[in-house]
């Protein structure tokens, strides 16, 4: 976990650390993995003192197992399902995006990923009155568009402004900026902007949107492949830990790749495919493009709650619909009917 340092736990003074180092025990992992009797001899320390130090270090650094029953209780009291604001998408996602997990939107250019992200941000901040963190990696975030969407929910300028203030925007155009941003949010250090601090100040964050993950990872894959894979795994770990630890719904976007047979798959490869718990593929409708330019087809391609491969047709315009067309017809059909 970390290098052994003096003062990490009672009994571990400078001299002790040096003697341990001489015995090739530098880190916490080294110490807990060592045979205590051996080590006591090697660094001429008392066996009892070593055992005590080991016990404290284990308690400090191990993950503490929680009973399943407690976890369930905690989940029942804290899990929230955030409506996306779009009834068709909600139906597909089993009523919305869930806190504590990662939901992914995958799609080609102009398939509506950013529109869905903006729609969710506007809905969560205005309708659900929760704070949102929006990490923009492509410059696709348009506050003007958010305002348009908010206008359909409230006519009050003040409320629109308040809703906009509940959305915190981070812009990160390369992988290091994204990681800086995620670690800063998830960290508990003294730095500003951490989620732990934010939640202790009353206003809790319920949604974290990253649009898009692939934009900053894709430039690394290829020649700096291993570094790219590593960075990808770090983004995954931080997102998962944040979603769980702070009980946040993480919504991320991904681009798609096309296989030789023309089959569309979400990008970032197999190692990323385990990361989101729910994946939705957004596609433009092949026909009727001119007639209904804002309608998209959404397919559920990974879910632990609903059968995979069910489809819905959704209208991106829904989030900024005017009062007149609220009655607009909706459709939710199964893939093959």
């Amino acid at each position: 976990m970390v290098l052994l340092r003096e003062g990490m736990c009672p009994g571990l003074d400078e001299d002790f650390v040096r003697r341990l180092r001489d015995a090739q025990v530098k880190t916490v992992e080294d110490l807990v993995s060592s045979d205590m009797e051996d080590l006591a001899q090697k660094c001429s320390a008392s066996y009892k003192a070593l055992i005590a130090i080991r016990r404290v270090l284990l308690a400090q650094h191990a993950a503490f197992p929680v009973s399943g029953a407690d976890l369930y209780d905690e989940l029942l009291s804290s899990t929230a399902i955030l409506s996306t604001g779009n009834p068709d998408l909600d139906a597909l996602l089993d009523s919305g995006v869930y806190t504590g997990e990662i939901t992914e939107l995958a799609g080609g250019p102009a398939s509506g990923k950013t529109q869905v992200c903006l729609g969710v941000a506007a809905h969560v901040s205005q309708h659900l009155r929760q704070n949102v963190i929006y990490v923009d990696t492509t410059g696709g975030l348009s506050a003007g568009r958010l305002r348009q969407m908010l206008r359909t929910q409230t006519s009050s300028d003040d409320e629109q402004m308040e809703a906009l203030q509940r959305i915190t925007v981070h812009r990160a155009f390369d992988i290091f900026s994204l990681l800086d941003c995620l670690y800063r949010l998830g960290g508990d250090g003294g730095g500003g902007g951490g989620l732990r601090q934010a939640s202790s100040h009353g206003g809790s964050v319920k949604a974290l949107i990253v649009d898009s993950v692939s934009a900053v990872i894709a430039p690394l894959l290829g020649s700096r492949h291993d570094e790219g894979m590593y960075m990808k795994s770090q983004v995954a770990i931080t997102l998962k830990a944040m979603a769980k630890d702070f009980n946040i719904a993480a919504l991320v976007t991904n681009h798609v790749t096309r296989s030789v047979e023309g089959e569309v798959q979400p990008g970032l490869g197999v190692s990323w495919s385990h990361v989101p718990r729910t994946r939705v593929l957004l596609e433009r409708l092949p026909d009727a493009d001119i007639d209904r330019p804002t309608r998209r087809c959404a397919t559920l391609i990974k879910s632990s709650r609903r059968p995979c491969l069910i489809r819905a047709e959704l209208d991106l315009q829904w989030w900024s619909r005017s009062e007149r067309d609220t009655s607009g017809k909706r459709k939710l059909d199964r893939a093959d009917s």
Partner: protein
Amino acid sequence: MQRPVTTLRLSPQIKVKVLNAGFQTLDDVMQVSALELSREAGLSQEEALEVLQVARKEGGADGGGAGDGASLTALDLLQKEEALTRIVTFSSRLDAALGGGLPVGKITEICGVPGMGKTQLCLQLAVDVQVPPCFGGLGGQVVFIDTEGSFVVQRAVDLATAAVRHCTLLAEEAEQRDAAAAFTVETILSNIFMVRCHDYVELLAEIYLLPDFLSSHPKVRLVVIDSVAFPFRQHFDELRAQRTRLLNGLAQQLISMATKHDVAVVLSNQMTTRLQGGQSQLVPALGESWGHAPTLRLLLRWAGSQRQATIFKSPDCEEATVNYQITTDGFRDDDRSEQPPSKRPRTLAGQSAAC
């Protein structure tokens, strides 16, 4: 969450040395002095200092939040967006559909087959961005990166002349008359910084250096690359994956630059045919993943004998199609033919209220 040192913005060589010395997390590094670090990890003093600087910045010792990652609220962003004047195209219908013109701080791509007027529109924008603020322009300068050798000075002169004439006719108040007097063809041409790039290496190098140029020329509001496709459609027959990676990196550099320096980035792109389901289809070149790069995509195409511009991708405008023509004066509305019946009303109704 413990942050591994490997996720810091440091060179791989330095990271390996730090790792091999047993430092794994940010906390590990923060505990030692530069002297100790340089001794234990075999780094030079400067390198050790750099590591500590990066670590301290991210470790939050000084409050963090500096640099790119600085956060703002959507309200701040809205105010920023509203403060940035858009670049008009001189086609009032296209401007209306775009919500007042091309956005500054974003990447716009103009796609079309040869002869559609991509370069014309690029030139038009290069002139328009210079329109003085009292006429609703930006009074900005331009970096024009020409990769195809298609920049023709005479055309720039034509368009500039038309723009100057337009402003002179509009001038009413004293301020506008003064501005119009200073807005001449010569000043317009002198405010366009021309760069000629012959291949993708030169282009990538230029983009790499551009942020410094923009810092020393804060009046630049527009960067044009005409075209981004040409250098990347040669030399890459066997190396599609490498091309995709280079392009992905380029896209992130461009949007970063556009955001930091408040410039509009305008790219032109060629069209290519894609076979899908036995049908061939004309799509923008450079592959599908490049399609994520532009924030806004304009498709220029023929509809019979009519030139049409379609907003194909945009975060804040609806998809819309307008007619245009290329005249001796430049890129203009086309009123010759009848209005297409179905699309026009929706386009305007949807946008005019919002923007």
